[in-house]
Amino acid sequence: MGTLYWLLYPLSKRLKFELQEQPKITQKTVKKGSLHAEEGMCLPFKYVLGNFMDALEKGANIVLFAGGIGPCRFGYYSPLFEATLKDLGYLFRLISIEPWFTGRGFIDKYRFWRSFAKLGRVKNPIRIAWAIWESFYIAQCIDEITSMLNYTRAIEVKKGSTNRAYRKALDLLANSKHYWQAKRNFETAKEMMAAIKTDASKLKGVVGIVGEFYVVLEPSANMRIIEWLNDHGIAVICSIFVTDWVGPDTSPKVAHINKIKAHELAKKEDTFHRWCGGDCTANVGHAVYLMDHLNVDAIIQLLPFTCMPDTMATVGLMAVTEKRDIPFARYIYDEHSALAGLETRWEGLIDTIEMKRLDKELHEIAQREAVRSKV
């Protein structure tokens, strides 16, 4: 999923376990995954299942997956993966990393430590904690760079230059030996991204993307919408990144505000009066933040078909975008999504943004004329 690999890569170096390179998600992966998953299951489950099968066929023997007490059925996915894959005859061990703040005190912390101790040869809790913290920091830097990529790629002068610089920066950061080196590398990486030749007049607009985290983060699941928008001169600001999702609610976020703040913002709107469906209110809050503080021209919601929290969020998003008169579009993905139909809708959204900008300019000109005529 997205840059998740780059969180585990430094961790594997520190905890001394062998990390298999993530198999690319292709059409075959999706086919495999949807064949063995329940039909009404959400898209991420099918993608991840197919991906696990690919990895196991390539020789992996441990499957690492996140547990959780989150908003949807996600917490139940790791036992489901285990059962499905065992039924298919794969030999492996599944390690599910459960969060350490579920409210059971010491037991939580112990289970959290144990799942990491099982992974590699390092057992010392302090060393493990330090390794996790360092890897998390590196991954956060990578997410910062990714958020720069989503913006800079829209205005690059030479096509492909941002992608090249991004890959170099990624390599540099992921191979940092320790925290201080990572800190230095982060500065270098930022400079590399800033050094890309850009042309601000190319920018047609800025859109904010909210929605279900897997579809937002994994390019092959969302039909590469971010790259496509960038190619058409639209900069993108995402409301979630890998570390935002993996990390505890209170840690600093790449997407500026954390879940708790987002909930508060959503509650101030007249749409939801109490916490509702996990990421549902958070998405509304993120959209409010994007519109009020980052002045985006449109809000896009991406969700997999049958995603309950996000289906509920749609209603709230419609209300908050309507109030501020900002175009809102949502795109629903399932394993049958074809690019041709989506492209038409994306183009339509770009036109809506352009027309609105034009209207604004005309309005400003008219106002200036009115002032002049009065004088």
Binding site: L339, D351, M355, D359
Partner: protein, 332 residues
Amino acid sequence: MRGYLGIDVGSVSTDLAVIDEKTDKVVGLVYIRTKGQPVVAVQEGLKELLAQFPNGIEIIGAGTTGSARNIAGLMINADLIKNEITAHAKATAFFHPKTRTVFEIGGQDSKLILLENGRLKDFAMNTVCAAGTGSFLDQQAGRLGITIEEFSNEALKSEVKCRISGRCAVFAESDMIHKANAGYRRPDIVYGLCEALVRNFLNNLAKGKELKSPIVFQGGVAANAGMVKAFGETVGIEIIVPEYHHCMGAIGSSLLAKLHIQRTGLQTTFSGFDSINLDFSSRSFNCDGCENECEISTLMRDDEVLACKGSICKKYDNVTGHIDEVLQLANA
């Protein structure tokens, strides 16, 4: 005579329109069925269009739209390739400048477009379901043994309400069979279907959106008087059906082409009506380069590939040349 050409190649129909350079009046109009062959349809359409101008016509700007806009645009070297949402909005704003809401139901998709001061403000397009579009009506008319033209008259004869589920095309069909077996008259069933489609449209697309008057209903399905009546009754506002409701995409496209030419001051790239006689063909193949197995579609003139589309890795983006060379690339 000089004019601007617009071509809308949709899933079911292909329409071409020519507007006069100065008056913006529609002077040439062609409406034919695509029959799954966009290349042939465009050539046929151009042939018919040419026949409408015995004194000849000079095209000074051309635009394409519709689901096969890229292929059509390549064939005639169009100045502007735009999506159908913008094209429809433009055409509606031209004929009915005060319009606030547009219902558009075509062969395989339905759109709701909201306008403000003649500009595109917001839109919604059917996402996960194609029930309630032209193809479905066509198919059901065929099943009932009436032509789509008779369908319209039949619906107006209805006297009794007959509720049919519009959530899904399959359920709608089984509902219709059930109602027929239960003894309902055919006009009532046909009108019930129209109402179901309207309900489906409003539930899917208009959710949370305010439908402001005046409302314009266009697209191929707007020719169906039963649908117009059902829309009017459900929404409670009078529905306007424009004169050229079936060709609004093409007209919008020509208007956009005109705007584009006027704004940039460029000469048109339109390759003339020569493309009628050239041997265009489209072909698609599966790339074996990686496990993605992208479906690549190509447009060819004779055996020469003009453009490829559809690869994720962008390997084929600027590839031209003989078809065999391109196919070799696929096996690499």
